[in-house]
């Protein structure tokens, strides 16, 4: 059994957010962090490693400095990193990105008892599309929005958190899970982990390594192969300020009922 986690380096929005004149994010001038949901994915994988002793491999697509992020994950306990990096892959949207990552995972190999875990979505794009698209391209069953996860044999029981409730789903390996932050509390790196991180294996998958894979085609990767086109980026106008009603007495609830009724909500 092995666990593959997909991770992304994203701009740190807790610091200064830099925006280009065209409204897009100026990534070059911002600090980077590991996408928060991907840390939950990594923690889920490491918990399985703690229990079953399986190997955990982190995959990322990005420029060469993304190696630093993979090393941090290795310091947390990830065993191996795969950095998918090539000029040809630059400018990919979610469709092209998932195509490339799926090809890389497939090249690495997915066995019967393997699990792929992705964060729900990245804080820069917020699409939540890459994980599910990888699953489709690898023909793996997928369960998204995992808030709880248990493993018995080759079956995972997952509580899938939705806006208005939850579903409990059983799925057999190999499968792909996308997780939400409620799934766990990511661990810190450990001191010994930091000292071991740079001696763990790092595989670089460049264009040459993936170009013969059936999923890789010049027309489906990079900027040219991306069906998404951004015409305009803008800051949406702020919504109106909400109204707070104080107190838990009948007077307050009547007032609330009146407001809801006036808006035809009840």
């Amino acid at each position: 059994m092995k666990i593959i986690v997909t991770v992304k380096q994203v701009p740190d929005t807790s610091g200064k957010v830099a925006v280009n004149p065209d409204g897009t994010l100026n990534r070059a001038s911002m600090e980077t962090i590991i996408n928060p949901d991907d840390l939950n994915a990594t923690e889920a994988a490491l918990k399985l490693k703690d229990e079953y002793g399986c190997k955990v491999i982190a995959f990322t697509m990005g420029p060469p400095p993304a190696e630093g992020m993979l090393r941090e994950l290795m310091a947390m306990g990830v065993d191996e990193g795969v950095l998918i990096t090539a000029r040809e892959f630059g400018g990919s949207d979610t469709y092209a990105t998932s195509q490339i990552i799926a090809a890389a995972i497939d090249t690495y190999g997915v066995d019967e008892d393997d699990i792929v875990i992705c964060g729900r979505q990245a804080i820069d794009g917020d699409t939540a599309q890459v994980g599910p698209q990888i699953a489709e391209k690898l023909h793996l069953p997928q369960v998204s929005y995992a808030g709880e996860m248990k493993k018995e044999g080759n079956t995972l029981t997952i509580k899938r958190m939705l806006e208005d409730g939850y579903m409990t789903i059983k799925v057999n390996t190999p499968c792909l899970i996308t997780c939400i932050k409620e799934l766990n509390e990511p661990r810190y790196i450990s001191v010994s982990g930091a000292f071991e991180a740079y001696s763990k294996p790092l595989v670089i998958m460049d264009y040459a390594a993936l170009k013969d894979h059936p999923l890789i085609d010049e027309t489906t990767i990079g900027l040219k192969g991306s069906p998404t086109n951004i015409f305009k980026s803008f800051t949406p106008p702020q919504k109106g300020v909400g109204m707070m009603l104080e107190g838990a007495g009948k007077e307050t609830t009547d007032k609330l009922a009146d407001i809801l009724s006036a808006k035809h909500i009840i």
């Binding site: 630093g68 090393r71 941090e72 310091a75 661990r187 810190y188 790196i189 450990s190 001191v191 010994s192 982990g193 930091a194 000292f195 071991e196 991180a197 740079y198």
Partner: protein, 381 residues
Amino acid sequence: MDFKLTNELKMLQKMYRSFAENEVKPIAAEVDEEERFPKETIPKLARYGFMGIPYPKEYGGQGGTALAYAMAIEEISKVCATTGTIVAAHTSLCCNPIFDWGTEEQKRKYLPDLLSGRKLGGFGLTEPNAGSDASRQQTTAVLEGDHYVMNGSKCFITNATEADVFIVMAMTDPSKGNKGISAFIVERNFPGFSVGKHEKKMGIRGSATCDLIFEDCIIPKENLLGKEGQGFKVAMQTLDGGRVGVAAQALGIAEGALDEVVKYTGERQQFGKRLAQFQNTQFQIADMKARCDAAQLLVYRAAAAKDDHDPNLGFYSSIAKLYASETASDVTRRVVQLFGGYGYTREYPVERMMRDAKITEIYEGTSEVQRMVIAARMGVR
């Protein structure tokens, strides 16, 4: 000469900061206010390796360096000097002498539990009549068959109520002066061992500082650390390294206060301007930053000297401790002044930092002792 941190150290610095911010800072004020040992933090520190940073993995350590250790103490002390003290006393004063002077058997017996943080360590040298003049030890240990019988007391012992293992100095041959002092590994459950008065302190109030009392305390012969008569050397060498820890703690306190004052003066308005817009604020903060950076370079040089087994370790660590501790006192005092009335209240952490800073000029060798060491090393006598 290279002033850049390695990738590993950069990664660790980031982790130390986020650990300190999330796990240590939230309870720092409470620990001080209630003079409470932060018990709940120890397992967390242990889990991530803080209790055995600069020791090899074969003894349960983290395989790290003295610099990685000093940086950990620095980052923790930025938010809580109490927690910095607990880790530093454990690592530098208990684990280090066992690692440097212990037999293979002693190392195998004690280090795995200590370095993994399952057990906590302490160090007993100071006595009511033997402070800076550590050679005037009155605690005695007499060999009787297969064990020593120890009598006497130690004072101001960090981690006293919580530690499981102590390194204790005692006179085994009073006729030989310094050379009659021996070092022992003492477990808290040895018969005749007890913990005495809990000191009420000005700062680092969460660290448990108490007397250790030995009344016919039975110590197995195999718990002699080093040879009989080597105790003073064990103690002095331990303190040479330990001073790097205190210097790192002092540095952290100063840097922590500086972080607070930058934030505060950027927000607080007086006379229609933010405090940061006044030249006095800018100049004071610039001076403090320069002092902190100088202290940091001295601390890192001393830590690197420990990693390199540099014979100048004692000299460098004395310089680092002297400068960093006086920087901590100076910076925290000036920061309280810049905060004004609010700085004097417990609403903000800077008065605590000012109280915490003072001890770094006193313990593990006062600033005066450091000056004696430095001048002597320069041949000025």
